[in-house]
């Protein structure tokens, strides 16, 4: 889905123009999440994914899920990423292993 959003797939054009993706990826809320009482950030609905995966560019946007799923687009590198696990990850939200997995994918995608 995120590949379709920023790049298009199967010969179809991207769903989003770069300026639309940029606006929806822009951080709109940052600071203390009043529900959790902890630091957090949101773009337009989407999570500001690049804050959690610092090797991504600032325009990266996506969302995670409670059991440990994570999907995002990183327009600067053209990368779209999807990870899903069946067993609920501790302690909830994106699973810890997502960071090394995303880092490995990003490194391969951006290597010379």
């Amino acid at each position: 889905m995120y590949a379709a959003a920023i790049s298009g797939t199967g010969g179809l054009p991207p769903l989003l123009k770069p300026e639309t993706a940029a606006e929806f990826a822009q951080v709109h809320s940052h600071g203390i999440n009043i529900v959790f009482g902890t630091p957090d950030a949101f773009a337009l609905g989407f999570a500001a994914t690049w804050l959690n995966y610092p090797f991504l560019s600032a325009g990266a946007f996506g969302h995670s899920g409670a059991a440990g799923s994570q999907a995002f687009a990183d327009p600067a590198s053209g990368l779209a990423f999807g990870y899903n696990r069946r067993r609920f990850a501790f302690p909830g939200g994106a699973a810890p292993e997502t960071v090394p997995l995303a880092r490995a994918v990003h490194a391969c995608a951006t290597r010379g």
């Binding site: 889905m1 995120y2 590949a3 379709a4 959003a5 790049s7 797939t9 199967g10 179809l12 769903l15 989003l16 639309t20 606006e23 929806f24 709109h28 809320s29 600071g31 999440n33 009043i34 529900v35 959790f36 009482g37 902890t38 630091p39 957090d40 950030a41 949101f42 337009l44 609905g45 999570a47 804050l51 969302h63 995670s64 899920g65 409670a66 059991a67 799923s69 999907a71 990368l79 779209a80 999807g82 990870y83 899903n84 696990r85 069946r86 067993r87 609920f88 990850a89 501790f90 302690p91 909830g92 939200g93 090394p100 997995l101 880092r103 490995a104 994918v105 490194a107 391969c108 995608a109």
Partner: protein
């Protein structure tokens, strides 16, 4: 009106790409974890992405037994990673992805903004007149999407039946006074953001988010991620398995700060989704962002997790939204 049969299920690997000639390193990769089970990494990576296979292999091996996962990646629209592994999971298995489904809702909204159908800086009441109550007259669509509206829940909480019906959630929130002055703060509208955005979409277009996702995104691009699983795909569906915490993780979960937020996850009765009916009736069944962390009980959190915090073991419909 009740929304039609939406279930949130994703399989991140695009089936249409399984035979992509660009993916050359086809093969099966079996390995054995320390407790003797096979992780069985299967699938393909494009040349140059072999380290991803190794990283995926390592992640499966590090987990306790019974862990299975799927990993997919595209670069400039071409699939470069299509891997899966662990017991019981196939390349075309479908499982619930909880709040990751919210990304599809926002993608629909982004398309409508791009089309000029929705305007981010328009007040929500322009699309949804009943929303203009109790101090919400000037909340814009931008405020709403950025979790600044303060509409994280309703006084008295939602019933499980309401939580399974986005129109009911939206109708109750239309009458609710925001939990903070809109714009003064932000907080994750975990259980309701899909209902709020969905109501705006429905009022502006006459179509549900699910219908627009299907017609404009999923079907044209052949995506294998559904907002509402078609009956003919149900044989591919796998339940989400309950968390299997280590003894130390159990102690952490028992700490008050963790307990409330993890209540759904830690309780087998609520996180073992042996059947999917609640997902079918709730288009955005999951809160939790990646950076979100819990804290001791607060009125705001009770509003956001009414059913979970009141009766975590008896509210499967709500907990599937976590």
């Amino acid at each position: 009106m009740r929304l039609p049969a939406p279930e949130i299920t994703e399989h991140p690997n695009g089936l249409h790409s399984l035979h992509d000639p660009a993916i050359t390193s086809v093969g099966e990769y079996m390995s054995v974890t320390e407790n003797g089970t096979t992780t069985g990494v299967q699938g393909t990576v494009a040349p140059g992405f072999e380290p991803v296979r190794e990283a995926f292999e390592a992640s499966l091996a590090e987990e306790r037994s019974g862990h299975s996962a799927q990993l997919a990646a595209y670069v400039h629209g071409e699939q470069v990673v299509d891997l899966w592994g662990g017991p019981g999971i196939a390349g075309d298995s479908l499982t619930g992805v909880f709040s990751s489904s919210k990304g599809a809702v926002y993608l629909v909204v982004a398309l409508l903004v791009q089309d000029g159908v929705l305007e981010l800086d328009r007040e929500v009441r322009h699309y949804w007149p009943e929303f203009a109550q109790a101090g919400k007259e000037h909340i814009t669509l931008r405020d709403l999407l950025s979790h600044r509206a303060g509409l994280i829940g309703v006084e008295g909480g939602f019933s499980p039946e309401e939580l399974a019906d986005d129109r009911a959630i939206a109708a109750r929130l239309a009458g609710q006074r925001p939990w903070w002055r809109p714009g003064a703060a932000f907080g994750y509208h975990a259980l309701v953001i899909g209902a709020l955005a969905g109501e705006v979409v429905l009022r502006a277009t006459g179509s549900t988010v699910q219908e627009l996702y299907e017609s404009r995104i999923r079907a044209p691009y052949g995506l294998d991620f559904y907002l509402g699983l078609p009956e003919e795909q149900e044989h591919r569906w796998l339940s989400t398995q309950p968390m299997d915490p280590t003894p130390q993780q159990k102690r952490e979960l028992a700490r008050p700060a963790r307990a409330a937020r993890s209540a759904c996850a830690a309780s087998p009765s609520t996180s073992t989704t042996s059947s999917p009916p609640c997902w079918r009736s709730s288009p955005t069944p999951a809160p939790y962002g990646p950076t979100a962390r819990p804290r001791p009980a607060a009125s705001a959190r009770r509003a956001a997790w009414p059913a979970c915090t009141r009766r975590p073991s008896a509210a499967p419909a709500a907990c599937r939204r976590c």
